[in-house]
């Protein structure tokens, strides 16, 4: 996927004026936050579970190498194979090799953000293997040559009409605008693919060290058909997803669906352990786990280590005012919203994603809802610091701050300037106390009024009260 994170400002501007996108984003805002709140209210232990989940994740990261070794040992004991991939490139090659060894023509795929991260589809296609996305949202995107805008609801930026149009074009059937009919169409189309695919690729929500199992959590059942019917099942996941035991996995499962969609539990939680057993009559004959690092091990021991706790629930973006205003694609790469603003600079470099940690109002809502209590605003601030150190901050901001620093070091001048600008803004604001247009601040005043200062400057008030 092409990286367009440095176009954030331009893309955001377009997104804010895109009426269709704004309508689609309305669906998100009207849905997820309310559903999550209701699910949380039904489980009095929710916050205590979050504390435990945070602590357990911290424990796992502190022992990450050992749990990964244990996981690998048990996958092998069950007849599976583990592949370690340091980079996205390594992972793509490894997966292609497995497909080639099976002489695979088509590959069905369950929903997996890690395969988006390593740009797997494009690579397979270029090498003669056809990937078929089977999650309804991902399937729609594949038909439209599009990319996910959300880590749980990938097609959230599209409207019913977009889907109807894409299906009409590709399925060659009369156009319908009934979601039930559209889903039925996708079900029929994909059924053939499930049965005829040579390889099935799924992601994993967790890797269980104790048993060497992987688990997927889905509502559609596509991931299950993907991994049960073909001869070979490849799990593509990342190293921080390991958990010690089934009991430990359970702690996260209690938080995941409630935080994500507000469901009590995802419809299908499926554990896969090795290939089919000797006497089994269905299931894959080969089981591969491809473990992707792609910058994660570099986060261990740094100020970004806490980000490795993320369980990809999407609560942070569902509650983010910036995400809600501009949508996921504006972030310009795979992971959007607050979690993306922390992860993306790590994975593609701060020089390619410096605008993301700045695209925040620092309202703190993301941290408030994160099931593993990741201090997302703090981590975004760390990236801002890094950006500053590397002199990547745009010249305008740098010189702006430079000018401010000049006055801040000269108190008398500073007071005079703030007194005069206070006066100026009050005059512009007039009786309404609101400013409609402000030179150099169109980015603000195009979408909302700027409140005019209502009284005296802080220093004036301070002086008056002191005396």
């Amino acid at each position: 996927m092409e990286i367009r994170s440095q176009e954030f400002k331009k893309s955001a501007h377009i997104a804010l004026h895109d009426a269709k996108l704004q309508r689609a984003l309305g669906n998100l805002k009207a849905g997820f936050p309310g559903k999550r709140a209701a699910a949380v209210a039904r489980l009095p232990e929710f916050d205590a579970l979050r504390d435990q989940a945070r602590d357990l994740k911290n424990h796992i990261i502190e022992h990450l190498d050992l749990y990964l070794e244990e996981f690998e040992k048990n996958v092998i004991a069950q007849g599976g194979t583990v592949h370690w991939c340091r980079t996205a490139e390594d992972a793509r090659k490894t997966i292609l090799e497995i497909c080639r060894a099976q002489d695979a023509k088509t590959v069905t795929k369950g929903k997996s953000m890690v395969t988006e991260e390593i740009a797997l589809n494009e690579y397979l296609e270029a090498n003669g293997v056809t990937p078929v996305e089977t999650d309804l949202g991902e399937y729609i995107l594949q038909l439209r040559n599009d990319h996910p805008s959300h880590i749980v609801a990938p097609a959230i930026h599209l409207t019913l009409d977009d889907v109807a149009e894409a299906f009409h074009e590709h399925h060659k059937r009369p156009k319908s605008d009934d979601p039930a009919v559209l889903m039925q169409e996708a079900r029929e189309m994909l059924r053939k693919q499930f049965v005829s695919a040579d390889v099935g690729i799924t992601g994993a929500n967790f890797l269980i060290a104790e048993t060497g199992s992987t688990i997927i959590c889905t509502n559609e059942g596509n991931g299950d058909l993907t991994q049960t019917l073909p001869k070979t099942h490849i799990v593509v996941s990342s190293i921080e997803k390991v958990v010690p035991t089934l009991e430990d996995m359970t702690l996260f499962l209690r938080l995941l669906a409630r935080s994500a969609t507000g469901q009590e539990f995802t419809v299908y939680n499926t554990l896969s352990t090795g290939p089919r057993r000797q006497a089994d009559r269905d299931g894959p004959e080969n089981f591969h786990v491809v473990l992707v690092d792609n910058g994660r091990s570099d986060m261990v021991g740094t100020e970004f280590q806490e980000m490795l706790r993320c369980i990809r629930c999407s609560a942070c973006m569902n509650h983010c005012p910036v995400y809600g205003a501009v949508g996921g694609q504006t972030y310009g790469w795979v992971y959007p919203g607050p979690m993306g603003s922390v992860l993306t600079p790590q994975m593609i470099g701060i020089e390619n994603a410096g605008l993301l940690p700045n695209a925040s109002t620092f309202c703190g809502k993301c941290e408030e809802v994160c099931p593993v209590r990741i201090p997302l605003p703090k981590l975004m601030r760390h990236w801002r610091d890094k950006e500053w150190e590397k002199h990547l901050t745009p010249a305008a901001a740098r010189s702006g701050i430079g000018i401010w620093a000049f006055f801040a070091k000269r108190p008398a001048l500073y007071r005079m300037l703030s007194w005069s600008s206070n006066l100026f803004l009050r005059l512009v604001g007039g009786k309404r106390g609101r400013i409609r247009k402000l030179p150099l601040a169109g980015g603000w005043t195009d979408f909302r009024d700027m409140p005019a200062p209502s009284g005296k400057t802080f220093m004036q008030q301070w002086q008056e009260r002191k005396s």
Binding site: L49, E220, G221, D224, T245, D248
Partner: protein
Amino acid sequence: MSRAEIFNRIRTGLRIGADDRQRQETVQQRLQARAANLIPQRAQLPQAACIQLFIEMAIESAAELIELRHRNELSAAVEHWLSENGISQLVLAREENLQNLDWSASSSLVREERVAQAGDEASLTNAFCGIAETGTLMLHSGPDSPTTLNFLPDNHLVALSASSIVGAYEEAWQQLRAASGGEMPRTVNMITGPSRSADIEQKLQMGAHGPRRLAIFLIRDE
């Protein structure tokens, strides 16, 4: 190559010294203890209340629930459900608990014991247990319980003994370990309601790729 590099980076990041025994012991202890974390109150109820909670939560998840007094009522109830829905074909698991059912009254029903195929209308399987906290069924693969039966057919019918219902997921893990001699079956399915998707404009539609309907036959007396 990649493997060594990844482990090196993790160990460097964690600043691991020459003596790593303490960490290794901590990890082995945790893996062996398999201790439960916080279990919500909701999942810690007496058996009768667990069964009641299971019923409520399963219905909330859009599963259908048919209560039976004895297992010998199962075949008639399944037959009735199928004929009401105009279905004349059933694929069954070859499970012990589904053997010895009396199908003599359902002459028009075509029954087959096999794995599922595309186009199958309905399957009948037996749940390993039920989990009250969210109305969840646990099923697992084995020679007599192929996983395709749980996903390919349009309608999934599941027999569940009320006595197998537990409160919390943790109890189910303990039972699974006991039943499978410590070795995980290839596939363990936790199923909560029928398949669904909200990928089109966030409007929930039932019956995405898995079964459109999930009917649980809850058998009381066993």
